[in-house]
Assembly symmetry: D2
Homo-oligomer: 346 residues x 4
């Protein structure tokens, strides 16, 4: 089959490789009908993820059809359409029993396209298939379901649900990349009074408006604090979601919250950030971090099926498998191309 294979920093190529084989009774093999590229894949290509070794098939997002299952697999069989979660779950460790699959101690977590061969391929072997895939309900198409492999649950679980967005809240989202935008989509599900989007690129702020923000601030040119205060009786935001991953944006997030604010960090950080406890120790702040668990996928699928959520608008580009390398290029140059999510189909 053809697959996107990692050959060291800067080098990923569409390559002919053997089809995957079942190695455990709980595995399933899925024929990939839609897959995508994630920002994490670019981190891998940059050489930032040393656990990924030469020869690894990349990718952890897929929708497809089951072609084979191990003898222990109970919930699906050949011919079933499934969403492959970016997070594999052993289902029985301490964390999996609490639905914190991202912290799985039993061999799961984020393993696809990292320590296991991934989903940017014509076929993918999925370990722990019963607890790492979701049967697709009728009326949900491949593309929108694919947004639930990782992207939408990330903004929703790590941003919206951890922050406890509530009707009437003023919600600030810092960073209007794909994850920030899904945080806005997810926040809208709880009817905040305002969503304030902050970014340094006007183009991304334009996208924010389409994804549910009603106030946009370019913090390259204006301090967002006065704007936040103007809609919060001078107090600050109820909720702040950090979706950039820089010390500066983290400090901004802490500064924009009111006393009692919930601050959810979704950004991927490479450095420490200063936490101004000399101010914050009195301010009743709740700060959360986290990896996506994908526990929200069943509810999100119901929202897709009932058309309460439009995940398709995250897809900006579509390519055939043969153009996979070009898709990487378009995605990597998102500042120019406006790419949010790039979908590959056979």
């Amino acid at each position: 089959m053809r697959a996107m294979v990692y050959h060291g920093p800067g080098n990923v190529a569409l390559t002919e490789v053997p089809d995957p084989e079942m190695t455990h009774e709980a595995d399933a093999v899925v024929r990939v009908e839609a897959t995508s590229i994630c920002g994490t894949d670019l981190h891998i290509l940059a050489g930032d993820v040393p656990t990924v070794r030469d020869g690894r098939i990349l990718g952890h997002e897929a929708v497809g059809t089951v072609v084979d299952v191990g003898s222990a697999v109970r919930t699906m069989g050949p011919g079933d359409r499934v969403l492959v979660s970016s997070i594999s779950a052993c289902g029985s460790c301490r964390y999996c029993r609490e639905a914190h699959y991202g912290q799985c101690l039993g061999g799961g977590g984020w393993i696809l396209g990292r320590t296991y061969d991934g989903a940017q391929a014509e076929y993918v072997r999925v370990p722990f298939a019963d607890t790492s895939t979701h049967r697709l309900p009728g009326g949900v198409d491949d593309e929108e379901a694919l947004m639930l492999s990782e992207l939408l649950p990330t903004g929703y679980e790590v941003g919206v649900l951890k922050a406890g967005v509530w009707p009437g809240d003023v919600v600030v989202v810092i960073g209007c990349g794909p994850v920030g935008l899904t945080a806005m989509m997810g926040a809208r599900l709880f009817s905040p009074s305002h969503i304030i989007a902050i970014d340094r690129a006007d183009s991304r702020l334009g996208a924010a408006k389409e994804f549910g923000a009603d106030i946009m601030v370019n913090d390259a040119t204006a301090d967002p604090l006065p704007t936040v205060r103007s809609v919060t009786d001078g107090l600050g935001a109820d909720v702040v979601i950090e979706a950039v991953g820089q010390p500066e944006t983290f400090e901004l997030a802490m500064r924009l919250g009111r006393p009692g604010a919930r601050i959810a960090n979704v950004g991927v950080h490479g450095r420490p950030a200063p936490l101004h406890l000399e101010d914050q120790w009195t301010r009743d702040i709740t700060l959360t971090t986290g990896l996506v668990d994908t526990y929200s996928v069943p509810a999100l699928l119901r929202l897709l099926a009932s058309r309460q959520l439009d995940a398709r608008k995250l897809v900006t580009h579509r390519f055939a498998f043969a153009d996979f390398e070009r898709a990487y290029d378009v995605f990597a140059r998102s500042a120019d191309t406006g790419a949010l999510k790039v979908v590959l189909s056979p």
Copy 2:
């Protein structure tokens, strides 16, 4: 001033009475600019509320302008526009400290128009003014604010919030009178996948559709259970809100929930209902009851001000004070008139 005075069962009349006077340092007197009639007022007229005595001014819903405050009142003064809550709160008893104002032990609770003269008058004296009124934010008009005196918080707090409606849930609301409709409006704030409205009058089911229901079942002619099962993988509803108050509808509510369902009773009951513990003891049911507390009013005001919530559509009829008796008649004959909320202005 003119006021609607109760003179025993079946007898309420617009009467000239003395203006209210301050009797406690924490009181405020409010000039009423909009008031309304509640189903409870009809219960009083029917003689069902023996604590209401001859000579009492009725009414517990008002929006208006403060004209006088006692020396202990800190948060408002003459000229301020306020929403008068149907629930007065002493602010310091055990229940008020937990925001369960409806259970106030310090002399509050539902007292306006019951044991205190009420708001169907040109002026109303409001006890515990600091904790029993809300300053109106800019951009919110009298009529929509008036819906927050009692009606909208009832459906929202006692129905939606107690039941814990969550994105993707299937929510059943039994009874499409004003309270049931506000439960639907409130449920929509949490983005359920489906709201199923049940009633015996097609006209009310039509209203339900406008207030957020997407599936309507007339249970005079069809058992709703198959419909509920058809959108819940055969399991039953995640949430059921009972907004009728009859043993039969309560039994129906219990029957429509899935294992693990949350059932919120909002209906006013006059008789016991059988609880089928022989079935339900294994089913992980959570059943709640309650009076409105109006603790949600600040959040609801923010939703009105930001136009996330349209409370005006609850108002079906408008009258001048001089026509108060006619307004009672229209409201009492809601089955014919389609009255949801009837607003009176000077």
Copy 3:
């Protein structure tokens, strides 16, 4: 091997039967080193559980050593000491993903000793072994662990946790049989100010005192309400746990709660009970029901291992397997024998 085999109402006998065999890759076979009899087994014997058919090995509580595992079992192997949960969990259905194993849709739930051969035997086959057993930590002995197969989690999960017992609460437990006593043990973990035990047998009230109650009321001779009011400023209890299963005790439970009370039903009911909604609709009651899920077992094991919880005092009688029929007799006559939990060992 020898096993307790059901042969129709009133008839259970120690019988020589074939050893269990593995039938699925996710099974384990466990050599039983301690097992017990549950009140449910007496219901089966009374013919009340029609899903149990002639020839079934009874029992759903066991501690033992793994002797064989299927190829899909990952978390244990021969020689490991395990607690067998009374609730089997497929691990991947909607309910199992939310840790509501008692409602498992994937073939689990209470199946051992009901639709599968059970644990009152020298060996037991455990389906879904990874999610239906718990490895025993060091320092926990067989007997105390056995109390976690079902009994202690029932009082703790369905009573204490569903009711949300909190430091300083006044907790009423109605019924001082084994489940009521474990509700008291579990409630003590949250430091209520008072636990009030209610029963009609003074001997059981004596046991209640040993399990954490500090006020005992025999409701055959006294209405408990004045006692409850005397320690709650006249309001009623914060929490009431019903552990009897009769309409009268359920009505009593509802009557003893304060406005805002949490009432947890743990009792097994055979008939409907009247719910006095004409009083309760205003009282902010939360009523819960439920089957045990055993999700709390890992935490309870930590409490056993750290000696914060003494489960051994639940064991009143011990027998060898050869005396299994006598053990049933002692347990069935608990009113005379004072039996709480009867443990059988090879």
Copy 4:
């Protein structure tokens, strides 16, 4: 009357001053029968709290008898024994309505002994008396009640409740001063499996043992991480409570938590601390900060009255008012004197 008056950094003296007078209808004047010194008073003396001006009577902890009340005070009258909370609450602002009294926007919060004359005096005027004091139940003496003015609620609310300590948890408390010790007392109410106390002074670790810790680590001589791992299957603590207020101890707190840990900062910080988001962004951490609100006082009073909590052991020294200056000296030299709480009585 005599009172401890602040006269600039380093200077507090027992001084004859006029008795306090009522200035608002919601005030009460309380004759102080027990008062105490808080670590914050030492910060004031060090000149660290610029809002405290020359001439201010210090102190925010008191128990006494009401001698006068304003006309708006409803819940107490002359002769009533009351606990004066360190936190005054207007009772009607956004934060007070949510029981976040420490963030009061209506003129309350920590004002006694800071911007209002305080409680280290024979009489103290208490603003917002209905919402800022608690009637003492029978059977609770002055000294133990005094521990609820601020100290015990701080450890309990800001440490234990914000961190969500739960039965079976492993709880680490860093810092064994008075607040750390009350965090241990409070944590015990929830039956953790282990409480691990960390400090650099063996004497304080000895105290920790008396307040509920079962493992003590002197982090001047040993890294606590291996100890924490040894009782948590190598994962790290479920809960960490930081009660020191230094960047180093904050970093230690973050390092000792398991993935999914709840970290509650109680320490008073004067400088920023580095937050290692490069590690923590994936670890599902919840970090909280906060001021005490004293919302837990009613529950804590019930626990004192029922002897479930022994607050008296926090009192290490007792003085008469005449020796107030010596009491400050003993408290300031707590490292030598072992002072936890110093109580002054007339």
